[in-house]
Amino acid sequence: MGRMTFVVRRLLMLVPVAIGVTIVVFFMIHLIPGDPAQTILGIHATPKAIAILHRQWGLNRPLVSQYWLFMDRLVHGNLGLSLYYGTSAASLILSRLPATLWLIAYAAVLAVAVSVPLAMIAATRKDAVRDHVVRAVPLLGLGMPPFWVGILLVYALAIHVHAFPVSGYGTGFGGHLHAMFLPALTVAIALAPVVIRSLRASMLNVLGAEYITTARSKGVPGPRLFLRHVLRNAVIPAVTVLGINIGFLIGGTVIIENVFAIPGIGQLMINSIFQRDFPVVQGVTLVFGVLVVLVNLLADLSYAALDPRVRFDR
């Protein structure tokens, strides 16, 4: 099977995943008690006013009929109208998606940028002091809750030093790069320890391999040996770990988005759940599901890029 066939097949697998996600989310959100009309009307909600809104939104129909309508709209690329804002749920999600994608991508880049050199430092001197330091210190990042790390970073680098904004998303590429540094670093601090440990372990394995001894005996210089032979072979397990963790991260961005007031889809999801804004909750969950599948697909594809022996027929 060629690479393209593999990609198409994996993309087609998105369809049953997406349908499964919509079924679970649709019925869960509708089965929990609470009413969007009640939320919007507050203490002014009268049975008549609630009934009018239910009729407007189609919430007076049977649940199965509502789901069918949702799926019918979905195949036409329409996620329906946000009950809270009265605007298109799709446009609402699309306007918030870039901030979340920025956060995830930026955090992944920072995590890799921190992890690779640290893992190399540790692996080249196994059981030396620097190895122990590299293995121990990043664990602090794993042990501390991200919202706390975020607040510490803000106090240190935004309030005292004024090097970065306290929060927000910024405008333009440079603005995003600047404004999103602290949130991305917060996520990277939590992500890096796992990647460092995984990378270090696989580097140690590779360093003991016969082909490395052969390369050394042939006089391949240190940096070249590390980049072309050690890192390339050692990085595959780390990519798996990174892919899985980014999958978790996609669902967990809400805390960081909340602490740093980033207008992403995590925040949108939480607000929409409290407002019982069904179309938006369904839409965001669908996007989360698709993103997780895509990240895993990307991880699979990167194996082939890193290791030519990887075939797509298994």
Binding site: D35, I43, H44, Y85, S95, V154, G168, V259, N271, F274
Partner: protein, 522 residues
């Protein structure tokens, strides 16, 4: 013969005939900031970190405060609320006359008022705006229910005909829902218009990135010469209390809406920050469902009300920044009576009331609390221990806030914590909502019914003599207090933190902000 009521008279009447007792809720009040060096300066963008995003700019249908406080900068009513929240003052109207039968009001419009698109405001715009609010099936139309028709005999005169004499008319007209928009929405549909609304207010529409930021810019046609001072205001959606505080400290925002009570004390001593506690009309209550036993029994309700240490609640929840409540009405509402015998802590009397009740040996009951609301959980926990000596076992049930609201409004609860803030500078809206079982809210969702209190509440609506209204509202407040249909818990101020370069920031007890008076020093 017609009675002519001048601007000055309106103000004097509104202020002087109200019994002023108790002023504030521990708040400092007053306009913002330390004295600036030099006078106001023009320019600058002010960032207002809000707890949540606006919902809609449609002033006739929206109940959400974060929307209201923004579109009040765009739409203005004929009369506006005075700074003490107890009266009205002329705004887009300059004066009015009332017919002898008190059923026709003739308003003169302020000359020279223009919309932000440069077109002059006329009586046709006023008629259209009030008529739109009257038609709003999902909104504030009930406040205009006494109006039978609105006429526009000439461009600067508006005549409002009433179905019957209606004392709260000016207060009703001062609500944002009666704000003036262009006749026929300037040729657009209602939906199109509210996407980028036009009004006579100090600021005009720029953009709204939903869930992120909403920006208004200076209206160059604004009728108050020299105002507003600011070039623009950006409201940002910052849900996290801590993040808003950090934004303020880091200079990224100039106003922090509703800092957490636990931080008020430290913010007062933070360099570069001014902590404001503006007098508000917010009142917190403990409601009893009279559809369920034993809350039909007045002695049970009185016993519970007498067992509550309100000072302890103020200390635990508001960190001392509030005041125990004695009346259904808060002190910032006209006709509030300071001497209302609201039941306060008296354990001996509470036990005596329980002894007289249908459950002298106590009972088990439940209080509904919205999950995640730490203030309400604290109150419920305190109540749990305070009711124990009466033999009342109180179970705390935490549910999703949405579910708590639904159960409260469907009267599927024993006890629930609730609150109220005023929308108009007149007690009628609250009184009707709270004590009339035939109103949509079934007496604040308690099913309380005292025919004398109901009768006097409706009599007060049609009594235009302020002294007579005061007498009626005294009876209403005393009746509601003695019946203890809700336990009046505490009055709290509005907390706002600003940076020290913000000047002229003030919030009325109804929550209105005149952002045209706000300026930023260098």
């Amino acid at each position: 013969m017609k009675f002519r009521m001048s601007t000055a008279k309106t103000l004097i009447t509104a202020g002087a005939l109200v019994v002023l007792a108790g002023c504030g809720s521990g708040g400092s009040g007053g306009a913002s900031g330390p004295a600036a060096t030099g006078g106001p300066v023009h320019g600058g963008n002010l960032v207002f970190a809000a707890v949540q995003d606006a919902q809609s700019m449609n002033n006739t249908t929206v109940f959400d405060n974060n929307s209201i406080w923004i579109f009040e900068q765009i739409f203005q009513p004929l009369y506006t609320v005075t700074d003490n929240g107890k009266g009205v003052k002329p705004w887009l109207a300059t004066s009015y006359t009332m017919s002898t039968d008190k059923k026709t009001y003739t308003f003169k419009l302020r000359p020279g008022v223009k919309f932000s698109n440069g077109k002059p405001m006329t009586s046709a715009d006023v008629r259209f705006s009030i008529d739109q609010n009257r038609k709003a099936t999902q909104g504030w139309a009930y406040l205009d229910s006494a109006i039978s028709s609105v006429d526009a005999p000439d461009p600067s005169t508006v005549v409002i005909h009433l179905k019957f004499p209606w004392a709260p008319l000016l207060a009703d007209l001062s609500i944002f829902a009666n704000g003036i928009v262009p006749n026929n929405y300037g040729g657009q549909t209602e939906a199109q218009f509210y996407q980028h609304p036009i009004g006579t207010g100090p600021f005009k529409w720029d953009y709204w990135h939903k869930g992120q930021a909403l920006k208004l810019v200076r209206n160059t046609f604004y009728w108050q010469k020299g105002l507003p001072y600011l070039n623009s205001i950006t409201w940002t959606d910052v849900a996290n209390d801590n993040t808003r505080e950090l934004q303020l400290k880091g200079g990224q925002a100039q106003i922090d809406q509703t800092p957490a009570w636990s931080t008020v004390s430290s913010l007062k001593s933070t360099a570069g920050v001014v902590m404001h506690l503006f007098n508000s009309t917010q009142t917190n209550y403990l409601a009893f469902n009279e559809l369920r036993k034993p809350f039909q029994d007045v002695h049970v309700r009185r016993a519970i009300s007498l067992a509550i240490d309100r000072n302890a609640l103020v200390k635990a929840v508001l960190f001392g920044n509030g005041k125990p409540a004695n009346s259904l009405f808060p002190p910032q509402v006209p006709f509030y009576q300071a001497s209302t015998p609201g039941l306060q802590l008296n354990i001996a009397q509470a036990k005596a009331e329980m002894a007289k009740s249908s459950v002298p040996h106590g009972f088990t009951t439940t209080i509904l609390v919205p999950a995640g609301n730490s203030d309400y959980v604290t109150i419920a926990t305190i109540l749990q221990s305070e009711l124990k000596p009466l033999g009342i076992k109180l179970n705390i049930t935490q549910l999703d806030p949405n579910v708590v609201n639904k159960d409260e409004q469907s009267l599927k609860y024993d006890m629930v914590l609730t609150l109220w803030t005023m929308d108009i500078p007149d007690p009628d809206e609250l009184a009707t909502f709270a004590v009339d079982p035939k109103s949509g809210a079934r007496s604040f969702f308690t099913n309380y019914d005292n025919p004398t209190v109901v009768k006097d509440t409706h009599l007060a609506e049609r009594t235009t003599d302020p002294a007579a209204r005061q007498t009626l509202y005294n009876i209403v407040q005393a009746g509601a207090a003695n019946d203890a249909f809700m336990a009046f818990l505490y009055y709290s101020p509005y907390p706002y933190a600003t940076t020290t370069n913000v000047h002229g920031f003030f919030v009325t007890p109804l929550g209105n902000m005149h952002m045209e008076n706000v300026w930023l020093s260098k």
